[in-house]
């Protein structure tokens, strides 16, 4: 792990002390058309365990990865925010069933801007929102963890919260200008990638909000798709749970491959994600 990456990570932990999130009704892997208030900073930490199956590379690797992603979002205006995402990964690989390799490093960081041009708040709870997002993945990662290229992306996300139900639908196109084949990070190869994510959230409790409501618990169902212009396609889907208090939130999801036709990278067997959002 490079010194610069350590410095970024330390700075992110430090500034988290002033963070205030408003990225609620957002499932674990699907973006939402929500953002922090103007002048506010928000931090989110996710840890993801990924077990891979068949590897098409000549090494026929048996791979397990743990990816820790820290996201910082700053509200520029009530409807516009800037985000910095820093993923750090630990990968354990066994090639040909013999040579074990363990690597730890920073993946490429992403910088993005999100603007919400349309919002309709129907009543105290219900809200419809549409946001557009654009950004770039910067070649800042360590060694094999980097695509070594600037990869811009654009997309849109729609969020509907109606009573106890919430739906998020997102689509993002990433122009990959570089990258290596057999990369384990989906969408990070040399071909362009389209992410299409859908999530549904149902508020288990409280049934009705009141002045005494201090927390809410949701069950989530997500379908996270990725199509690459080399023809690879995958959809990882699964349930999750989200607990939101006034000062922190916890989330956990399981993802299983529903559709997986990949030839350029290893197949995903299982994804388990834990997330934490803290208000200081």
């Amino acid at each position: 792990m490079s010194r610069s990456a350590c410095a970024i990570a330390a700075a992110m932990v430090a500034v988290a002390g002033a963070s205030v999130p408003v990225m609620a009704q957002e499932a674990t892997h699907t973006p939402a058309a929500t953002q922090p208030a103007a002048g506010r900073l928000y931090m989110r930490q996710k840890v993801q365990y990924v077990s891979f199956g068949d590897d098409p590379s000549p090494e026929a690797r048996d791979i397990t990865k743990v990816v820790s992603t820290t996201t910082l979002t700053y509200g520029l205006r009530r409807d516009t925010s800037l985000s910095l995402e820093v993923p750090m990964a630990y990968a354990a690989e066994v090639a040909h069933g013999r040579h074990a390799t363990r690597r730890f490093g920073v993946n490429d960081i992403s910088l993005s801007i999100k603007h919400r041009p349309w919002q309709l708040d129907l009543n105290p709870v219900d809200s419809l929102r549409l946001a557009v997002v654009g950004g770039v993945e910067v070649p800042s990662g360590d060694g094999d963890f980097s695509s070594h290229s600037f990869d811009p992306f654009v997309g849109a996300v729609f969020t509907a919260i109606l009573g106890r139900h919430g739906v998020n639908q997102s689509i993002v196109y990433k122009f990959n200008t570089g990258g290596d084949a057999f990369n384990t990070r989906a969408g990070d190869g040399p071909d362009d990638a389209v992410r299409f994510d859908t999530s549904y959230l149902f508020r288990l409790s409280p049934v009705e909000y009141s002045a005494a409501s201090e927390a809410a618990t949701y069950v989530t169902l997500e379908a996270n798709g990725l199509y690459e212009t080399n023809g690879d396609v995958e959809v990882i889907a699964g349930p999750g749970i989200l607990y939101e208090a006034r000062t922190f939130a916890l989330e956990a999801t399981i993802g299983l491959p529903m559709v997986q036709e990949v030839r350029e990278r290893p197949e995903v067997d299982l994804v388990v994600t834990l997330g934490l959002r803290i208000l200081f």
Partner: protein
């Protein structure tokens, strides 16, 4: 051939989901009457006079979760002179307690709600 059928299947599923989401937006956004803000909101936005009472009650729409409510809470507490804020997400009622010493205007409160990203629908001042 099998791969192509799979891809077509995936494309159909996602097209249906996207169309569903778009339909949801159109029905929700166009089929439902857009709630209008109370006249008190327009007055508040232009009102630079100091609030005479000790409590302002704001009606805010779109606070769909506890963290959202906390954001409104914190943004209002940054207004000098605001002592307490309590949010009822069910009714959208935000009670703002004033310290009675520092002058606070309705415009400051309206602006704070706007910066938090939600919709202010009504402003009342209580003694």
């Amino acid at each position: 051939m099998k791969l192509n059928q799979r891809r077509i299947g995936v494309a159909v599923v996602w097209t249906v989901m996207l169309a569903g989401a778009a339909g949801f937006a159109v029905l929700g956004g166009c089929g439902v009457e857009r709630p209008r803000a109370d006249a008190s909101v327009n007055e508040a936005i232009a009102d630079d006079r100091t609030i005479e009472g000790r409590e302002a009650v704001l009606t805010v729409f779109g606070m769909s979760c506890p963290l959202c409510a906390n954001n409104v809470d914190n943004t209002l507490k940054e207004v000098p002179g605001v002592e307490t804020v309590s949010v009822d997400m069910g009714s959208g009622e935000v009670r703002v307690g004033l310290d009675g010493k520092t002058p606070v205007t309705r415009r400051q409160l309206a602006r704070a709600v706007d910066r938090s990203g939600f919709s202010l629908k009504k402003v009342e001042v209580r003694p």
